[in-house]
């Protein structure tokens, strides 16, 4: 759920960055027409870039997933179901039955 929200925020941040890029292209076009040198971006585009960067930052920190604890005795790492713990596995196979049958025959 949180991952979906993070993903949406990331896409929105990407759109904001795209819009900032488009605004920059327009700005360069205007500068070419009025014959001035490029010295820096207008403050509104810089603000847009910072906003997009922050949104993408949020997405990058939430989307890839949660950190899992590496400590062997932490709460999260306990095997909750018995099959998760290999010590509790029981193997029953027909080889056992075949073995007993052959033993019966020979004896």
């Amino acid at each position: 759920m949180a991952m979906g929200i993070g993903f949406t925020i990331g896409i929105f941040g990407g759109l904001v960055l795209t819009h900032a890029a488009y605004a920059t292209v327009q700005y360069r076009g205007v500068l070419k027409i009025v014959d001035e040198e490029f010295s820096g971006l207008p403050i509104i585009v810089v603000a847009e870039l910072i906003l997009g960067l922050c949104l993408c930052f949020w997405a990058a920190l939430t989307v890839p997933g949660k950190f899992l604890s590496i400590l062997p005795d932490s709460e999260e790492n306990r095997p909750v179901a018995l099959p998760a713990n290999l010590d509790f596995m029981i193997f029953n196979h027909r080889g056992k039955a075949v073995n007993s049958l052959t033993n019966d025959k020979t004896s």
Binding site: G13, L17, V25, L41, F57, I70
Partner: protein, 120 residues
């Protein structure tokens, strides 16, 4: 009785091992490393695009990259709730991992965005 004896032996063994070397869940460590790797790659790409739009050139771009990566490290540490040792075996995992490979994609997207926006 035999079961009790075995359990006791097991406890002794595990406590011996924990005295000798730190134990951790390697599978979860791998997952955490992958998460860090994804975060860094994505942020270096986004940082490259932003640096290109800003029109940074030369040394300024690399300073920008170092800034982004520093903020990423802080963000990742905050994501681990600043108790790094319960998620990673050492601090270098958070601070240094994926730095150079991120630099490659940063430079690629930096030049790409700069060319598209400021040159063409």
């Amino acid at each position: 009785m035999a079961v009790n004896g075995e359990l006791g032996a097991d406890e002794n063994k595990s406590s011996d091992a924990s005295n000798d070397l730190p134990i951790f869940n390697a599978e979860n460590l791998q997952t955490n490393m992958k998460v860090i790797y994804y975060s860094r790659t994505f942020l270096s790409i986004i940082g490259g695009v932003v640096a290109g739009i800003l029109g940074l050139t030369g040394l300024m771009g690399f300073i920008f990259y170092f800034l982004i990566m520093a903020i990423t490290s802080i963000g990742l540490a905050a994501k681990a709730k600043f108790s790094v040792h319960s998620y990673f075996d050492c601090w270098n995992r958070i601070i240094l991992d994926g730095f150079l490979s991120g630099l490659m994609s940063f430079v690629l997207f930096w030049t790409f965005a700069y060319d598209i926006i400021h040159i063409f």
